[in-house]
Amino acid sequence: MTISDTPGAAPATLDTLMPGPLSLAGHRLGTPQRAGALTMVPISGPAYPGIAPPRRALKLVRVDGYGRVELRNGAADGVAIVPLHMGYIQDAAQNHALCRSAFIAAGQTLMFEDAACVQASQTGYLTGRDQWFFILPVELRTRALQRRGVHDFSKLWPDIAALNRGYGLPGRGHLEQILSRKRPVLTQFQSRLELQPGQLGALFFIDGRLAGLELAPDPGYFADVWAALVCFAYGVAAWHAEQRHAQTQPPSGAPAGAAAGARPFPATSLSELRAALDRDRAARIAQIAQWLADVPTGPVEFTEEERYLGLRLSTVTGDHLSGQVVTDGDRAVYASLFAPWPVDTPR
């Protein structure tokens, strides 16, 4: 049972979400999954071939001083689309995040002069050991996008400090306070929500509100960025929402609805139970479809940033949604779009 084929669900489609003339023809929404405050609706659809998978192809070559990060596309063929707001954490080295996406052709190296330092420490060359990448938490993404092209390595420190304070952590410009120290709980999102076969994108809702739309060229690319998206880009805000809920609800040690006093379905036989379960799920899927229909819309501005053959990388800016997309004609190849998500805004 998916959103796309649920009877009675609001007529929400991906096309209504994608800004401007972008087409997601042939893409479908799958069965939603939920983990606490985070709901993920998988997107499947036709793959766009020829894009290098980021986790395997992209390598961090070095951090050349504050705010300068060099990446290499080590793939033998296939252009790499650098995931928007990708960052690296590595032991004994400075952690940086990128404020924009980019194309890197096969075998090419690219220096990002406008990277943001997310932790003050020594600069230097990095080895491949103990290196893992993340994607900036959604709370930081709007500001990071706004500050792309700005050569100021400390440009995110005030926002990171505010984020830390909002989460009850010391107000310092160290994103590691969340990403590393809370890693055991954040990485559980990788298991709490599960990648579907053929999945190449997802909608992420936190507490019923659209937080982001992520679309990859193919399932392999999406699998590469899945953990960084679910654990860090959206997992951080979802974890914080769960913390807030835990303060207002008695702890059950179990997922919502799974408490010892779970409410029985109205059924007196197995067949009735199965039917009641199906009805209940259809209602919940319809509710999620309604969330989709309720996503605010409005004008957005497209700014082309880069080209690679027929591919265009553009920045999307709007009051309700921002991010970057890669297109081939009117077809969306890659998209990372997110809602403004200020820290501690009552929702």
Partner: protein, 445 residues
């Protein structure tokens, strides 16, 4: 009381038996034990050997067995109870046994089997010398209660006077023992001078049982995907693409070894096997959970007359996709099993809470089939806070192949069809422990 409820009680209620000075024995669940014994003395007693039963509950079983009259029981049952008493007196911490024997004194319970068990513990326990040195007054009370104070002291006097086998000593004392020569030395020790007079010579009282009922749990320094038992390790190498022919031959051998000690389960088990993406895992833990869950499935397939597997997500070879446990349980119930076991890491996401609601509805839908949750874990210390999709279901975790020894009795103990299995398995356990007890007795003699 039904077996699952009793077993759960034995596994969870750890309150000690106590003997307040001058008061009555504090035995908070005596009615429960008495009722269970009355309903099925042998079945009740054997449950005391089930893996995972708390030591103080085993002490209660020993107390109940020794306190109750055996009038009306057949010889086979009496033999089983006697063997169980012998095993438990060696398999419990000596202090627990002493509390039991003193409790029998407070209860004024005295039967031939009580006398025999008490005398053998006091005079033939492998650590009897050290125990007498440390707990002399208590053990003397046990000895005098077993024989009666006058008879006990009469025996002690005769032994002190050099009697080694008179008709009186034979009939009153030695006939209860397997190694009477110990009594000739240890009875005088029970009546020796106050040990406090020379505390330096006191031996430290043995605190550990001399017979291990539970298998020592594995404690590898670092848990990996391949040090969790032979079956799972072999499966991990198969999943990783290792040499199939060689690995399958080994797998067959490991499976045969693993099931050799289990009786046949004469019923049907519906197994809801979580084969979603999270069961595959990632990084260094990849395949760890799936391989152990598959190992359990393979063991069950060889032990059960009928095993119906409902895979959720993907399949055992290719775990993928989301976790819909609620539908899995409904599908499993549809095949009419005696028992449904959900094997999962506990990450339910389509939709979370549905399994709990389905489980809560089953009694209203007229379903009496037990549904159990078997938690697939990476180590015994996994944080399960976010991994309990249906807290009201009976649940037990497993991470190592050795855990199957506890898991299977727990599973089969939840259904009527499993009672013969449980009894047969526990009889086999008693046989094995009794052989060890005999060896211990032989060494001590």
């Amino acid at each position: 009381m039904d077996t699952p409820t009793l077993l759960t009680h034995l596994e969870t209620h750890a309150v000690p038996l106590t003997l307040p000075r001058g008061g009555t024995l504090r035995w908070d669940d005596a009615d429960l034990h008495k009722a269970a014994y009355t309903a099925d003395p042998e079945g009740y007693a054997l449950l005391g050997l089930a893996p995972g039963v708390r030591p103080w509950q085993r002490a209660r079983v020993l107390l109940q067995v020794l306190a109750a009259s055996q009038a009306g029981l057949d010889d086979a049952t009496r033999t089983t109870l006697a063997r169980l008493a012998r095993v438990l007196t060696l398999a419990l911490p000596p202090a627990h046994v002493i509390t039991v024997l003193l409790g029998l004194r407070r209860l004024r319970a005295n039967h031939k089997h009580t006398t025999r068990a008490a005398l053998r513990f006091v005079l033939e326990h492998p650590d009897a010398d050290a125990l007498i040195a440390e707990r002399r007054p208590a053990l003397r009370d046990c000895f005098e209660h077993a024989l009666g104070k006058a008879t006990a002291r009469g025996c002690a006097r005769r032994i002190a006077d050099g009697d080694t086998g008179s008709d009186y000593l034979q009939r009153r004392l030695l006939r209860f023992l397997t190694a009477p020569h110990h009594a000739l030395r240890r009875v005088p020790a029970l009546y020796a001078a106050d040990p406090q007079a020379n505390p330096q010579q006191q031996a430290a009282a043995p605190r550990e049982p001399v017979l291990a009922v539970e298998r020592t749990p594995p404690h590898p320094g670092t848990v990996t995907a391949t040090n969790r038992g032979d079956i799972a390790a072999t499966l991990v190498h198969l999943y990783r693409g290792g040499p199939a022919e060689e690995l399958y031959v080994a797998l067959d051998r490991y499976l045969a070894d693993a099931v050799a000690g289990y009786p046949r389960f004469p019923g049907a088990v519906g197994l809801v096997l979580d084969a979603s993406a999270s069961m595959r895992g990632y990084g260094e833990r990849q395949w760890a959970l799936m391989s152990q869950a598959a190992a359990l499935r393979m063991v069950l397939s060889r032990v059960c007359d009928r095993l119906e597997v409902v895979e959720v997500g993907g399949d055992e070879r290719v775990p993928r996709g989301a976790t819909d446990l609620a539908t899995g349980v409904l599908d499993a119930l549809a095949v009419g099993p005696d028992l449904v076991a959900v094997v999962s890491d506990g990450y339910e996401n389509v939709f979370p809470g549905d399994l709990a609601r389905v489980a809560a509805t089953l009694p209203h839908a007229g379903v009496t089939t037990p549904v159990l949750f078997c938690h697939a874990m990476f180590t015994r210390t996994d944080d399960l806070t976010l991994r309990r999709p249906a807290p009201a279901l009976p649940q037990r975790g497993f991470w190592h192949q050795d855990d199957f020894d506890e898991l299977l009795p727990w599973m089969f103990g939840h259904c009527t069809a499993g009672e013969p299995w449980l009894r047969a398995a526990l009889h086999a356990r008693l046989d094995a422990l009794d052989r060890q007890a005999a060896q211990i007795g032989g060494i001590a003699a």
